[in-house]
Subunit: 120 residues, 2 copies
DNA sequence: ACAGATGCATCCGTAACGGATATAATAAGG
DNA sequence: CCTTATTATATCCGTTACGGATGCATCTGT
């Protein structure tokens, strides 16, 4: 078991970790696909090099946010190099808490002022 | 002048920097008041020690996000130790861009799914 | 078969953070 | 008045996250 779960709702996630979690909400992905998904969903504002990607994956594995999955249902001829990852319950919970944290930020008067005009 | 302005809309702000910017939107504050404002506005989820606070202030000064201000309109009997800071145009712009970035994140399907039920 | 994209991994420098510590002025209480 | 807690700023230093560079192997398209 991980030494501490600390899903205690505090401490914000880093942007990189948040985007990786978000890319895995819809389903399992392998590392390289995560990189592409993050680039796509951030409109290329987040350029994740391999160092950041695999370093983050390692950390998130240690934190218990993700686990490696063996996609048994995939047809043959899958690229053997690929390593797939999926969210754990803890990872999903962390994502939810972070989304709610960001939502609270956007509900502050200062943030609302910014979004007036472009947002309902 | 700062060597590079790089308000180029990319690269996300750190949570600490975002919260400090947010605390200064309403008006100038001194360091210790920033610390209290951040704690309040984050419901104590962000515990900023003095190292983080004054280190971040120094960085934000170097980035041109904030400047020290001399509050001439304040009455006498002000605590002489206090050093007040206010947003620059660049800092305000950085805050706006970050708020919009977060807003885009919350508009993704994965994030919307989380907010369904608690949010319209 | 060759080029280019895919895929994973590590190394290492840099930036951000965060606790500890130090110092001093101010405020509060007995 | 004396003491203590709070306010206020600042630095030091260890840890963590990031991010470019590099390496290498595999798969794809022509």
């Amino acid at each position: 078991m991980p030494k501490t779960s600390h899903l205690s709702s505090d401490e914000p996630l880093t942007p990189v970790v948040l985007h990786i979690l978000m890319s895995l909400v819809e389903g399992e992905l392998h590392g390289y696909a995560i990189m592409q998904a993050v680039a796509a969903q951030s409109s290329n504002t987040l350029k994740m090099g391999p160092g950041t990607l695999y370093g983050s994956i390692k950390r998130m594995l240690a934190m218990g946010y993700i686990i490696e999955s063996i996609p048994s249902l995939l047809p043959v001829r899958e690229d053997e190099r690929r390593r797939y990852y999926q969210l754990t319950d803890l990872g999903r919970k962390a994502f939810e808490l972070e989304v709610q944290r960001l939502d609270r930020i956007l509900k502050t008067p200062a943030a609302r002022l910014v979004l007036k005009g472009s947002n309902p």
